[in-house]
C-alpha cells in the first residue's frame, strides 16, 4: 500500500475513533445541549419561545433577575432600584457594566431598549403595556413611569425579552426604537447572525433548526463563564436526545420526559426530576357555535368535576407531575391557599341532569402535539373516558397548529386543550391571560364575540387591587383571583408536568429557572 493511501486510511480511522471515544467530551471546553429548538427570532424584542429564554439570558442581561429560589428578584445590570408608594414610578441605578464591544451600558441604552420593545409591537411587547415614559435621569440612572399601579413591573423587567441591547450597535444595523419601529425596524435578520448584549456569551453562529453556537464574551464585566463555547444542537425526539447523552455526544438533554429518563442505564448520566411552572389545561368556549345555551357555568362545572385528576397525572406523565388548582402555577403568589379540584362523578351527573344536559355531545379541537412530555392525544383520550362516565360524548379532533388556530378563532368547537409556561415570576401574567376580564385574551377566545357569556366583573377589580398591592396583601388578592377563575370554569388545569434535568455526570450547575429556563453561565464541568 503506498504512503498517501496508508496515511489517509490512518487519518480516517483516527477521525472516527476520536469521535466515538467518550474521552472526547470530558476535557472539552464546549458545552453541548440537545434540544428541539423552537426559535422564532433572536431579536430580544421579537423573540418569544422557550429556547429564546435561555439564549437571551446568556447573551443579554436584564436590569433585575430571578434568584435560584425562583421567587426573589436580585440585582443584575441594576445595582439597586426604588419604587414609589403607588407602584407607578420605578427608578434603577445601573452597575458599571459593559457590552460585548467594550462600550458601557448606560441609561440611554435601557430607555431605547424598552421603547423599542414597546413600539415594535412584537410578541413580548405586552411587557411594556402601560409604560408612559422612560427617562435617562443621568448616565447611570433610568426612571420609568406607568399609567396605573403595577407592582409586577419589576417582575416583568426580569423577563429575558427585556434584556438590554447596545443601542448604538443595533441602530447601526437597522434597529429603530421610536413609534415607527413596527414598520421601519429592519434589524431582525441582523440579530439572527449577531448579538449586541452585555451577557456572559455572545452569538457566534445560528443555523435554524440545526445549531445555535454561542461563544464566551471575553469582555464580560462579571464572572467569566466556565465554558468557552456553548452549542445547542437540534435533536427533536426524547429517545434520540437520551442516546446522544449516553454516548457523550451532548452534555445536557433538555426535553427528556420522565418515562424516557427511566430507561437510561448509563452511570455517566444524571437525571433529576424537578417541579416545573408549566401546565396543560382544558379550555371551554361557551361562545362556540350553538353552545351559548349549552355550555353554561353549571355544565362547565359538572364537566370539570367529572375529570379524574389523579388518574390524569398517571395517564399523562406517569405520576411525574402535580395537580394544580387555578390557572396560576403552584408556588406563584396566591396559590398556597388554593385547593385543586377533585373528581365527583355523582355530583357531576346530578348537575348535568339539573341543567337538562344528560345526553351532551361535544367536540374538542386541540393541537396534535406533545408539549412538556404530555401527549395531547393521550390526555384528551383520558378526558373523553372520564366524561363518558357521566354520559357526555366527546369527539376528539387533533389538528395542526395552523388549523387549530383558525378554528379556535372561529369558535368551531366548544372544548380545547393548550399549555402555558411563565415569562417571569408573577401571578399577574396569568390573570392578564386567563382572567375573564373584558378584552383579555381568553375572554375573547371563550366568548367568540359574546363577552357577556363569560366576563366576571369581580376579576377586573381584584386585578387592579392586586397590582396596587405587594407582599401578603397582593398574595391574598391573587388567591381570590384564583378562586374566581376556578368559579369561571373556563380554564381547567389538568397537570403541571415535572421537568427532567438530564446531564452528563461530570456537569454541574444545571437548574430550572422560572424566568430563564436554563441559566447557561452557571454551568461548569467538574
Amino acid at each position: 500500500m503506498n504512503t498517501p493511501i496508508r496515511t489517509g486510511l490512518a487519518a480516517l480511522l483516527l477521525g472516527a475513533a476520536s469521535f466515538v471515544s467518550p474521552a472526547a467530551a470530558q476535557d472539552s471546553d464546549t458545552l453541548v445541549i440537545a434540544r428541539s429548538m423552537d426559535v422564532n427570532s433572536l431579536d430580544p424584542s421579537r423573540a418569544f419561545c422557550d429556547t429564546c429564554q435561555f439564549y437571551l439570558t446568556a447573551v443579554y442581561e436584564t436590569l433585575v433577575t430571578l434568584d435560584a429560589d425562583n421567587q426573589t428578584l436580585v440585582p443584575n445590570l441594576a445595582s439597586e432600584w426604588e419604587v414609589n408608594d403607588d407602584f407607578t414610578e420605578f427608578t434603577f441605578m445601573l452597575k458599571d457594566a459593559t457590552f460585548a464591544d467594550g462600550s458601557p451600558v448606560e441609561a440611554s441604552d435601557v430607555v431605547w431598549t424598552f421603547e423599542r420593545l414597546k413600539n415594535l409591537k412584537g410578541s413580548p411587547s405586552f411587557l411594556m403595556d402601560g409604560l408612559t415614559s422612560a427617562e435617562a435621569v443621568d448616565a447611570k440612572t433610568v426612571k420609568f413611569t406607568v399609567d396605573a399601579p403595577n407592582s409586577e413591573f419589576l417582575n416583568k423587567v426580569s423577563a429575558p425579552y427585556a434584556g438590554i441591547i447596545n443601542a448604538e450597535v443595533a441602530q447601526a444595523n437597522g434597529a429603530i426604537g421610536d413609534e415607527t419601529a413596527a414598520e421601519a425596524d429592519k434589524a431582525e435578520p441582523w440579530f439572527l447572525a449577531n448579538s449586541a448584549g452585555s451577557g456572559p456569551f455572545q452569538l457566534s453562529a445560528y443555523s435554524p433548526e440545526n445549531e445555535l453556537r454561542l461563544s464566551r464574551n471575553d469582555q464580560y464585566w462579571g464572572e467569566a463563564p466556565a465554558f468557552a463555547e456553548v452549542v445547542v444542537t437540534q435533536i427533536t425526539d426524547a429517545v434520540s436526545q437520551l442516546q446522544a447523552l449516553e454516548t457523550g455526544q451532548v452534555d445536557i438533554a433538555m426535553q427528556i420526559d420522565p418515562d424516557t429518563a427511566q430507561s437510561s442505564r448509563s452511570p455517566d448520566v444524571t437525571t433529576e426530576v424537578v417541579p416545573s411552572y408549566n401546565f396543560v389545561y382544558v379550555g371551554f368556549i361557551p361562545g362556540a357555535k350553538g353552545m351559548a345555551e349549552v355550555l353554561t357555568p353549571e355544565v362547565r362545572q359538572a364537566l370539570a368535576l367529572a375529570i379524574d385528576y389523579d388518574g390524569m397525572l398517571d395517564f399523562t406523565v406517569g405520576g411525574n407531575g402535580k395537580k394544580i388548582a387555578a390557572p396560576i402555577p403552584n408556588g406563584f403568589p396566591g396559590t398556597a391557599g388554593l385547593t385543586p379540584r377533585s373528581q365527583d362523578v355523582e355530583k357531576a351527573k346530578q348537575m348535568l341532569a339539573d341543567a337538562g344536559q344528560e345526553n351532551l355531545s361535544l367536540v374538542a379541537g386541540y393541537p396534535n402535539d406533545n408539549i412538556y412530555g404530555v401527549d395531547f392525544n393521550i390526555m384528551m383520550q383520558k378526558v373523553q373516558q372520564d366524561w363518558a362516565a357521566i354520559g357526555v360524548n366527546l369527539e376528539l379532533k387533533p389538528l395542526t397548529w395552523a388549523v387549530w388556530r383558525d378554528e379556535l378563532a372561529a369558535g368551531e368547537w366548544p372544548v380545547t386543550a393548550v399549555y402555558y409556561a411563565p415569562d417571569y415570576y408573577g401571578s399577574g401574567q396569568y390573570v392578564a391571560y386567563f382572567g375573564m376580564i373584558d378584552g383579555y385574551p381568553w375572554t375573547n377566545r371563550a366568548s367568540v364575540g359574546q363577552p357577556d357569556l363569560v366576563v366576571n366583573p369581580a376579576e377586573a377589580d381584584l386585578y387592579a387591587q392586586a397590582l396596587a398591592a405587594s407582599g401578603d396583601e397582593a398574595d391574598a388578592l391573587y388567591t381570590q383571583l384564583g378562586e374566581e377563575m376556578m368559579k369561571d370554569t373556563i380554564i381547567v388545569p389538568l397537570v403541571s408536568p415535572d421537568l427532567v434535568l438530564a446531564y452528563r455526570s461530570d456537569i454541574e450547575g444545571v437548574r430550572y429557572s422560572a424566568c430563564c429556563n436554563l441559566p447557561l453561565a452557571e454551568i461548569s464541568r467538574k
Partner: protein, 338 residues
C-alpha cells in the same frame, strides 16, 4: 438526442412556473392561520400585534396582489422570506439541500449496488439458501419503518457498541469544513482535513445505510423478478443454445433488459427522497430539506412551501430527464427522434 435534451431543459422553467403557481394558490387557500408561525399562540388574541405582523409580511394584501408580487419576485430569483426562520428561503434551501443531497446520493449508491448485486445473485441462484436470505433481507429493508430500524440501529451500533458515532453531520464540538460544495465529506477533502473527512463519513454511514436499505429492498426484488422473467425468454434460450455461458447470458443479455424498470424506480426514488427523507433526517438529526418541508407545510409557511415545492419539482424533472437518457443507454431499441 442533444436537441431532445435541450428541448426538455428549455421546458423546465415554464413547468416550474406552473408548479409554483399551483403551489401558491393551494397553500394560500388551505384552511389554517398563516400567522401560526409568525405570532405565538399566546399573542394571537392581541389585535395590535396581529395587525402589525399582517402588514409587515404583506398578508393584509388581497390574494391576487400577493400572487403578482410572488411571481414578480420569483422570476427575479427571490423565493421570499420564511415565516419561521425569518431568513430568505433561498438561503435556507442552499444551507439544507447539500445535506440532503449528500445523504440521498450516498444512500442511492449504497442501495443500488447492494440491490443490483443481491438481485443478480438471487436470480442466478434462484431457490438457494442465498436467494432466500437475500429476499428476506430485501423484504425487511422495504418493510421496516425507518423510524424503527433507524432508532434500533442507532441504539445498537452507537449507544451499545460505539462503532458508529451518534446523530448529526459532525460531532457538535467540531467546526464544519469551509463551505465549498456543502457536502461535508467533499469539503473536508478539499480542505485537506482527512480526520474531518473521516468524521463526516462516519456520521454519514448509518443514516445512508438505513435509507439505502429501503432502496436495496425495492431494487433487489425488482432486479430479481426482471432477471428471472428475462432468463426464461426466447432470446436467453437462443443465447444459451449458441453456447453462451450462463454468466454471459445473465449479465450481457438479461441484466441490461432488467435495468429498464430498475432505472425508472431509481429515478423516481431519488427525486422522492430529496424531499421525502423526513424520518431519516429526524432520527439522525440531519438538517436536510425534508424536515424543512414538513415544518413548512405544518406551519403554513407560504414562502418556504413554495421554495421546497420548486426544489422537489426540479428534482423530479431532472430525474425524469436523466432516467429517459439512461433508458436509451440501457436499451438501444429505445430511440429518440428529435
Amino acid at each position: 438526442m442533444l436537441a431532445y435534451i435541450l428541448r426538455r431543459l428549455a421546458a423546465i422553467p415554464f413547468l416550474l412556473l406552473g408548479v409554483a403557481s399551483i403551489s401558491f394558490l393551494l397553500s394560500q387557500t388551505t384552511k389554517g392561520d398563516p400567522l401560526a408561525a409568525l405570532v405565538p399562540e399566546r399573542m394571537m388574541s392581541n389585535p395590535e400585534i396581529v395587525e402589525a405582523v399582517r402588514a409587515q409580511w404583506g398578508l393584509d394584501q388581497p390574494l391576487p396582489v400577493r400572487y403578482v408580487i410572488y411571481l414578480g419576485n420569483l422570476v427575479q430569483g427571490d423565493l421570499g422570506t420564511s415565516f419561521t426562520t425569518r431568513r430568505p428561503v433561498a438561503t435556507d434551501i442552499a444551507e439544507r439541500l447539500p445535506a440532503t443531497l449528500e445523504l440521498v446520493i450516498c444512500a442511492m449508491i449504497l442501495g443500488t449496488i447492494m440491490g443490483l448485486t443481491l438481485g443478480l445473485l438471487s436470480a442466478r441462484f434462484r431457490g438457494s439458501v442465498f436467494d432466500g436470505t437475500a429476499r428476506i433481507f430485501a423484504l425487511i429493508g422495504s418493510s421496516l419503518p425507518i423510524f424503527w430500524s433507524g432508532l434500533i440501529l442507532l441504539y445498537l451500533l452507537s449507544v451499545r457498541v460505539s462503532i458508529v458515532p451518534g446523530t448529526g453531520r459532525l460531532p457538535p464540538r467540531v467546526t464544519p469544513p469551509p463551505d465549498v460544495t456543502g457536502f461535508y465529506t467533499v469539503d473536508a477533502l478539499l480542505a485537506g482535513d482527512l480526520a474531518l473527512f473521516g468524521q463526516a463519513l462516519a456520521h454519514l454511514a448509518l443514516p445512508a445505510f438505513v435509507l439505502g436499505w429501503a432502496v436495496t429492498g425495492i431494487i433487489t426484488r425488482l432486479t430479481r423478478s426482471s432477471l428471472i422473467e428475462g432468463l426464461s425468454q426466447d432470446w436467453a434460450r437462443t443465447a444459451r443454445a449458441k453456447g453462451a455461458p450462463e454468466r454471459v447470458v445473465l449479465i450481457n443479455h438479461a441484466l441490461r433488459n432488467a435495468l429498464i424498470p430498475v432505472l425508472t424506480v431509481l429515478g423516481f426514488t431519488f427525486a422522492y427522497l430529496i424531499t421525502g427523507a423526513v424520518l431519516t433526517e429526524a432520527i439522525f438529526a440531519w438538517p436536510g430539506i425534508g424536515s424543512y418541508a414538513v415544518r413548512a407545510a405544518a406551519s403554513l409557511d407560504y414562502p418556504a412551501i413554495g421554495g421546497v415545492t420548486i426544489v422537489g419539482s426540479m428534482a423530479f424533472l431532472v430525474a425524469n430527464l436523466l432516467t429517459d437518457i439512461a433508458y436509451a443507454w440501457a436499451n438501444p431499441r429505445i430511440r429518440v427522434h428529435s
